[in-house]
Each structure stands twice: as C-alpha cells, then as structure tokens.
C-alpha cells in the first residue's frame, strides 16, 4: 500500500511542478555566527544564542506549517468526515462500516469524559466554562457546550478553522455558547483559572514544548477543574532505554514531517509533567486497541473518487499528510505509536 502511494506521490509532484524530495531545499536556518577562538565562556554563549534563535525559527516554522496544513485540509476533512477531527472509539476487533465512524467519534468524547470521572448531567457539578485547546473546526466545543449547557472557548492556530467553527456554531444555534479565536496553546490568551474543564483532543502531538503545553493547561484550569488530554504518544521507554530505537525514530520522523509534529513523547512523560505541577488524581491509559479501525477507514475514504479529487484540489500539505497515513498504521502495529488518554484534576484552593 505504501509503495503504491509513494509512486502516486512522485507522479503528483511531477504533475504539479512541485519539488521532488531530492530537489526540496532544507528550511532556512539562521546562519550561525563564526565562533570566536577566545575564552570558552564566550564560545558557549555565542553557541547558545545561535541555538535558541534557531529554535525560535523552528517553532515559528512549525506553527506556520500547522496553520497552513489545517487552513488547507479542514474543508476536505469536513466534507468527507464531518466536524470531528479526531479518532473514533470502537469495540476491540469490531468490524466497522463507514457509517459507524461518526458515532464512534462521539463515543470517543463520551469515553474520555467517563475516564476523567466527570459527573453525569447533574446540574450542580457540571462544567460551566470549557476550553477546547486545539479545537479544529469546533466539533468537541459544540458537543460539550450542548451537553453541559456550558460556555466553551476554542483556540487553534488556523484562521480558516476559526471561521468554519464559527459558521458551524451559528448554523447549529450555538453562537451564544461557543467562541473561537486564533491563539497558541503554549501561550493561551486567557487569565488564570478560567475553566472548569480543560479539553485537549488530539492536539498535544503538535506541541513543541510539552512542559509549556501542560503548564498552560494547568494555569487556565479553575481550582477543582478536570484536565483531559487525548493524544498520540510513542511507547513508554523501558527503564534501561535512553531513547527509542533508530528504526522507530526513523518512522516517527517521516510522520512528523508530513503532519507538522515536533518530537513525540510517551504517556509516562505526560504523567511525570502533570505530577511535577502538583496536579491530582492523575490517570493514564493506552486506548490503541480501541482506535484500530480509524486509519484504514481514513485511507479508504481518501481513495474514493470524492476523496482523491478533494485531495488534488486541496494542496500539497494535505496530500503529503494523506500519503503518510499508512505509516500511522505501521506505527500502531509495531506498538510504537500509542493512542493515549491522560487526565487529572487541579487541586481545590
């Protein structure tokens, strides 16, 4: 399957006059100043300054890439899959037909809420304010706002997604309950302690600084609020391991390039981060077996006439992302990629 798609990819690149992988230039990097051969202290300072500027450029490139990817692809996704841009939750080993996926995506939201021990529709304890971090076109925001009668704020890097999210909210009579803005999850534009529920559904994998990401989730959470993170991780490392094996890193790198992902971490890493922020009732689980039908289904829809024509019309970033989908299946099969849920609670004052 992947060789078929890579041939297809090369043909597409030639067809649209896009650079092939050998021609593609490496991203612009801030030129390092030549290190002066003076005292070691100076050399280290200069090297550190050059490195942090390079990091800034990298982060900015990543953010722009993410915004452009989703500006380009959200319409295609919505056309074929609807307004939830996340995995569905399926029974293990279920045989799933194409029509089951939407309810599976909704089930994913409900299962995540249940895992986090969120109270049922008891009016006294349900969340009144919610933040959807990495909100896509607002599927979760609208669902949660409707479920709890709550006010939901969504943030995303993609201006196109914000416009689509707002339009969908207006269409569904939720314009008074949900709001969206273009903002960075690593620097959320909210005052401290605003939200009773902090929701991150498959956006954590885009965050270049996991500590900053988690700190912001904790900062905007109100005392007693629940934080729910559903995200792609790599497998936990064994105590003897320093890092993933080279072949594993190679596979993840290919996926990272196409999906605009920074380095992956494990769910154990997330648990450590949450613990370091003194968050309580930390729970984590591996839900990989419950999402297995998802990528095969996405590939199947991409290969339909509607899927292919939509992809061709969308843009190079979307196509590149689509070509890499079989690698996600490979990653799951090799127990390298884990679909993880991590939840916790912010302490009461």
């Amino acid at each position: 399957m992947s060789s078929l798609l890579s041939t297809w990819g090369s043909r597409l690149r030639l067809r649209f006059g896009l650079p092939t992988s050998s021609e593609r230039q490496s991203p612009a990097v801030v030129a390092e100043r030549p290190l002066r051969a003076s005292a070691r202290g100076t050399r280290t300072t200069v090297a550190r300054a050059a490195r942090s500027t390079r990091e800034e450029v990298e982060v900015e490139r990543l953010q722009r890439g993410i915004a452009e990817l989703y500006d380009e692809s959200s319409g295609v996704w919505e056309d074929i899959w609807g307004d939830h841009m996340h995995h569905g939750f399926y029974d293990s080993n279920a045989v799933v037909s194409l029509s089951d996926h939407r309810s599976a995506q909704i089930r994913m939201i409900e299962e995540a809420l249940r895992f986090a021990s969120l109270p049922a529709e008891d009016k006294l304890k349900t969340p009144r304010t919610i933040v959807d971090v990495g909100c896509g076109i607002g599927g979760s925001s609208r669902y949660l706002a409707r479920k709890y009668g709550a006010q939901c704020q969504g943030i995303t890097l993609s201006p196109v997604q914000v416009q689509m999210a707002q339009a969908l909210a207006a269409e569904q009579g939720l314009a008074d309950k949900v709001s969206f803005q273009v903002a960075d999850a690593l620097n959320q534009p909210f005052s401290d302690g605003q939200f009773d529920l902090v929701w991150s559904m498959e956006s954590g994998e885009h965050m270049p600084d996991k500590m900053k990401f988690v700190s912001e989730l904790a900062r905007v959470a109100a005392p007693g609020a629940r934080i729910i993170i559903v995200t792609w991780c790599h497998r936990d490392l064994a105590p003897s391991e320093e890092s993933l094996r080279p072949k594993e890193k190679e596979l993840l790198n290919k996926i990272c390039n196409a999906f605009y992902l920074p380095d992956w971490c494990s769910s154990a890493d997330y648990v450590d981060l949450l613990r370091s922020l003194s968050l309580e009732d930390i729970k984590a689980a591996d839900w990989s077996e419950y999402v297995a039908p998802f990528w095969p289904a996405v590939i199947k829809t991409a290969l339909t006439w509607k899927g292919l024509t939509s992809l061709l019309r969308s843009g190079w970033k979307t196509i590149k992302g689509a070509l890499v989908m079989p690698l996600m299946i490979e990653g799951y099969k090799k127990d390298l990629i884990k679909f993880s849920i991590i939840t916790c609670r912010k302490p009461e004052k």
Partner: protein, 122 residues
C-alpha cells in the same frame, strides 16, 4: 468577538503583570440577536468581571449597563435583557484588543481575534 469572550482574554506577553482587561478599539460593531437563556446568564454572571465588562460595552457603543451589579439584579427582566444584550449580542467584527501594559494591538478581523504572540513576546 462577543464581550463574554473579551472578559476572559488577557495579554500574556512576557513581562506583563496585569494583561487584563484588554482595551477595545472598535472599528466595526455588529449586533446579532440571540435567544435569551436566563439560566445560562445566571451561571455566567458569577464569572464576569463587572467593571471591565461595563467599560468594554461602552467601547462598543452601548451605555445601558449599570456601573455596579449584584446577583439580586438578575431577578429583574430589564437587567437580564441588558446583560444578555451586552454579553452576547454585541460583536466586534473589526478592530483590535490592546494590551493595557505594552500597548500591543491584537487585531480582530471578521470577528476573529488573533491572539498569537510574536517570538520576542514569549
């Protein structure tokens, strides 16, 4: 952008100690009618910083809100109507939100605020 949203937003530029509330520069304000939901409004009232909310509504061209408000006032239909209107029906379509400390403008276009910080503000 509605005033409910504005009441939650703050400038988190590096070094800024009080980035709330953002000052509103209104170029285009649009009114969009929305059904009044008393229960929702009562829930939200507790979370609203009232003085910034009143100031913001004046910047949007609405001067009917009282300077101070207490939960008891939610029993009055007239107050509820004004609260609802200012909170949910006034939309900043074009303009900017300004950081109270640094003066940095966060643009609002087509009703969408862009709160992304530049690399040197982080």
């Amino acid at each position: 952008m509605r005033l409910l949203t504005h009441n939650m937003l703050s400038s988190n530029i590096k070094g800024v100690t009080s980035g709330f509330p953002l000052r509103i520069e209104a170029e285009k304000v649009v009114e969009k009618q929305v059904e009044l939901n008393a229960a929702f409004l009562k829930n939200m009232f507790a979370k609203i910083e009232w003085k910034p909310f009143v100031d913001a509504s004046r910047a949007m061209g609405y001067a009917e809100l009282p300077d101070e408000a207490e939960p008891l006032m939610l029993e009055s239909d007239e107050f509820l109507q004004k609260f609802h209107h200012a909170l949910l029906e006034l939309h900043l379509e074009e303009g900017a939100l300004v950081c109270p400390e640094t003066g940095r403008r966060f643009p609002v276009n087509k009703g969408i605020p862009n709160m992304l910080l530049h690399e040197d503000e982080v």
